[in-house]
């Protein structure tokens, strides 16, 4: 029995990748956008760490014309560039991503982090401090650990990076058979 057979809601929303075709959510959104919405965005996930399972769903939708009527502005245009810089800068560094990856499966001592990353002393602490400051990591007894936010951000940016970088040169983020560009079919 595959994941898809055990997960009826996921299957209903995303379709079965083995059968190909357009995911139902995707189809539905194309229709929504044609009719009255301007953008839909969903960011959802769940992950397990030891025995604890974390999950989140976050989404927004925006109708056209809301700007003029005092509605919510479009995030792509209105988000504060300095917030984006603040959120991403701690993650935009190879050594810090490696530290986070090392802590992904559980807390690590400074010695373990040093060994895994090849960084020592002041250099290691400098990068750890950046992660602590951003609330992506925290101090725990005997060492350091990722926070739930850190785990969530690592999962997300690593997943995007592994697709985007691989797929460079074609349509970008449009991934394999799960997405497509261009106009919706009539």
């Amino acid at each position: 029995m595959s994941f898809w057979d055990r997960a009826p809601i996921t299957k209903a929303a995303l379709g079965d990748p083995r059968s190909g075709g357009r995911p139902p959510l995707d189809q539905e959104w194309h229709e929504l956008l044609t009719r009255d919405q301007d953008a839909v965005f969903v960011w959802a996930g769940a992950w397990r760490r030891g025995k604890t399972i974390y999950g989140w769903t976050w989404s927004w939708v925006r109708a056209p014309g809301e700007d003029g009527l005092g509605g919510e502005p479009h995030p792509a245009v209105s988000a504060s560039p300095s917030s984006i810089e603040r959120m991403l800068s701690p993650l935009a560094h190879e050594a810090r991503v490696r530290l986070m990856q090392t802590m992904y499966d559980g807390p690590k001592s400074a010695a373990q982090l040093s060994e895994a990353s090849g960084m020592r002393g002041g250099n290691l602490y400098y990068h750890l401090k950046e992660l602590l400051h951003a609330s992506y990591a925290k101090e725990v007894e005997g060492g350091y650990d990722l926070t739930p936010l850190g785990c969530q951000m690592l999962l997300t940016v690593a997943a995007i990076a592994s697709k985007v970088i691989e797929d460079r040169g074609d349509q970008g983020l449009l991934v394999a058979d799960r997405s497509r560009g261009g106009p919706a079919p009539g």
Partner: protein, 185 residues
């Protein structure tokens, strides 16, 4: 919310939660799945319409998901969190780590613009402006359409939408427990 009455699939998957702030149906299902196998499931999906596209032709849709090892289906890839090349994460995010470059992309979201236009809007001229535009072109986020006219690429649009949306959530919530929704597991 009435606007979702027209979207039964979305409503069932994302807005069918026990309380206003409870976990969504998808999230509840995934939590159950992770008890058996795998270590994470991630969905980043979006659809948007931009000004230059006709109303019947939404410009783009991407549905992105990943299920970790443990799922039996071989088409489902192992989770990227622990295995992605750290250098690729840096490459992906670096163009977004400068305020002025994000502002340039935000300007381009509503359509192609000339460099003269952009110079006026972001307050940069000559070499400084072209150096930032060059970085964005190099990263594949922006393309030069004709002499002096720049536009966002699909990749640039997608990433701008995704990362600005994440910033809207994460930055606000920083200092607390992050974005975790309790009551699962």
């Amino acid at each position: 919310m009435p606007r979702w009455d027209n979207a039964p699939v979305t409503k069932a998957a994302l807005w069918d939660s026990p309380g206003e702030h409870g976990p969504s149906a998808l999230e509840r299902e995934w939590s159950g799945q992770l008890k058996h196998a795998g270590d994470f499931i991630l969905l980043i999906a979006g659809c948007y319409r931009r000004a230059e596209c006709s109303p019947t032709n939404p410009s783009w849709t991407a549905l992105w998901w990943n299920v970790s090892e443990g799922a039996e289906d071989p088409s489902l890839q192992r989770g990227a969190a622990a295995s992605a090349a750290a250098a690729n994460v840096e490459r992906l995010l670096t163009p977004f780590c400068r305020e002025v470059r994000v502002r340039l992309m935000q300007e381009l979201y509503s359509g192609a613009r000339s460099s003269d236009d952009l110079a006026g809007t972001v307050g940069l001229k000559g070499g400084a402006l072209f150096s930032h535009l060059g970085e964005l072109v190099e990263a594949g986020l922006v393309e030069k359409q004709s002499e002096g006219v720049y536009a966002l690429t699909n990749l640039g649009c997608n990433l701008l939408l995704i990362l600005t949306s994440l910033a809207g959530v994460s930055v606000k919530d920083m200092g607390t427990e992050g974005l975790v929704i309790g009551g699962l597991g």
